[in-house]
Amino acid sequence: MNQNNNYSNTKATLAIAKASFRSIVRSPSSVVFTLLFPLIFILVFGFIGGSAVSVDVGVVKGSDTQNPVYQALAKSSVVHLINDQPIDQMNSDLAKGHIDAIINIKKNHDGWTLYPPLSVAKSKPAFTVDVQYTKASAEKDNILKSVLSTIFFRMNQLTSNESPVIAELKESTVSGREYKTIDFILPGQLGFSLLSTGVFGTAFVFLSLRITLVIKRFFATPVKRYSIVLGEALARITFALIGALFIILIGHFAFDFTLIHGVSTVLQMLVLSFVGVVIFMGFGFVVSGIAKNESSVPPIANIITLPQFLLSGTFFSISVFPTWLQPVCKALPLTYLNDAMRKIAFEGASLLDVGHQLLILLIWGIIVYSAAVKLFKWE
């Protein structure tokens, strides 16, 4: 009758986290859903390769085609140019999302001088590129934006090279950026991995601990309830993040997944993964509270995961869905996680740049955890 006065909740929490982590790593289903499935999908899509992602761009009749911008677009494997349609048809297709953008390139005759003046007087740009995007396929438009800015960056860099005023070349990491299938697929699979480990893993663990009276036995020890939840959460988050890192690294080294700012991009993706898995675990708590026994977990969990799996841009851009379905897609949390993940990985956005997506994820978090507090059962 001794160490009774210095009981440590931290020690108890860590003991649970350690036990839970060991258990997760040894459970075949968590490894399969968190790592194996996403990797198989990445493998399959990685080998299909090619241009699974294609941005259809209508070219306005009369648009200048003898310029470097057009040439570069025509060479791009991602952008598919459509030349032979009347403007009315194109406008209507654009509104429906059948095509992703309309482009009109005009040559500015007075802006181009064969002999640039010695002075650095500002001249008008040589070309004006008019791009009309559509809300119906915002995601692909982001790809187009990215492709265009790469082209512009290269061109502007070339021109400024000729100017003696600039003494030093700016280092550029954007050059040669090409939107590959893996750049689309991997963030989606990462989202899928976080969703399954968060929802299924959490739901199964708490339900089975409740049914097999493991939690009741815990309650006969001095452990606090929050230690149990925190310990479990710690283990699951650690596992999910290790899984995410694994997927990112395999994607990068085996399939040349684009990580614009290298390590910093990876870290930001991991922060985003953390936000994602915490929210998805909230769904898991809700499911474990609703489910009566282990066999009722999968149906309930699928109601939550399947729509997100299909409609959140995991395998293909949400722009392929009809307009009436778009609002549903745009309500799901995974859509925003995927979106933010792609922006960070490929466009080099920072976490601040994806503030909008994070805000919506935060709102989802509040909703889900309010429900979890009401529905979660200990016994």
Partner: protein, 254 residues
């Protein structure tokens, strides 16, 4: 030497809605004894135990465990007792050492797994999973987890249910050792031969009430004195004695 009560239950009542599971029971458990709660299923044994173990709220009454009131200081009680639940499982995918490690963390106590497993003769199963154990081994392991915090009292809810005669005897020896080392044991069982051999005192519970409390010997003497006679003539041995005699007393693993 006067017997010191380590558990005092006064006027305990537990209602589930309209159902009165426990109806105003009072009893004391003395320090250092093996105390048996006997009675048919649904008599209120498990409910009573779980209220004493701080796992369940009571409707009314007062309970003092080792000087602490269940209402005021459940945490101090949890630190002083060891609990084996009826049909409880263990954390999945972990081996016995890892489970002991987990419980040590939950109790905030440094115990090596081997030290605990040695107490119940399971050191050779340290790397085995709980579900791979035999019935007797499972119960011994459960008892090991109740001993981690060097408890003053342990509660065993039907620990021998479903065990073969050898495993049962093996567990009796273990429970006696625990009592002899100074830990009070509260046990429930459906086997009267077990209660007769093992328990220092027993309480008969039925319909949520305690009918009587005494030593097994006194109960039997009282019944015989009242003129009770068995229908069949009592032989000097019974069939279980035959079973043990034919199959040997040593306990087998597996």
């Amino acid at each position: 030497m006067a017997k010191q009560p380590i558990i005092t239950v006064n006027n305990l009542v537990k209602n589930y809605g309209d159902f009165n599971a426990v109806k105003d029971i009072s009893f004391e458990v003395y320090e250092g004894e093996i105390f048996g709660l006997l009675g048919p299923n649904g008599a209120g044994k498990t409910t009573t135990l779980e209220i004493i173990e701080t796992l369940r709220d009571k409707t009314s009454g007062q309970i003092i465990v080792d000087g602490f009131d269940v209402d005021k200081d459940p945490d101090s009680i949890k630190k002083r007792i060891g609990v084996q639940l009826q049909a409880a499982g263990y954390y999945p995918n972990l081996n016995l050492s890892e489970l002991i490690e987990l419980f040590s963390g939950l109790y905030g106590i440094n115990k090596t797994p081997m030290e605990m497993l040695a107490k119940v003769a399971l050191t050779d199963k340290a790397k085995a999973k709980y579900k791979e154990l035999s019935g007797g081994q499972k119960q011994r392991f459960s008892i090991a987890t109740t001993l981690i915090n060097d408890p003053r009292i342990i509660f065993l809810d039907e620990p021998t249910t479903g065990l073969d005669p050898q495993a049962r005897r093996n567990l009796w020896d273990l429970i006696r050792e625990i009592r002899d080392s100074g830990t009070t044991v509260v046990i429930t069982t459906h086997y009267m031969d077990e209660a007769e051999i093992l328990c220092d005192r027993v309480a008969f519970v039925d319909g949520g009430r305690i009918i009587d409390i005494d030593t097994p010997d006194n109960f039997i003497d009282k019944l015989v004195a009242s003129g009770f006679e068995r229908k069949k003539e009592v032989k000097l041995a019974n069939l279980e004695d035959v079973f043990i005699n034919l199959t040997g007393k040593e306990w087998r693993e597996g």
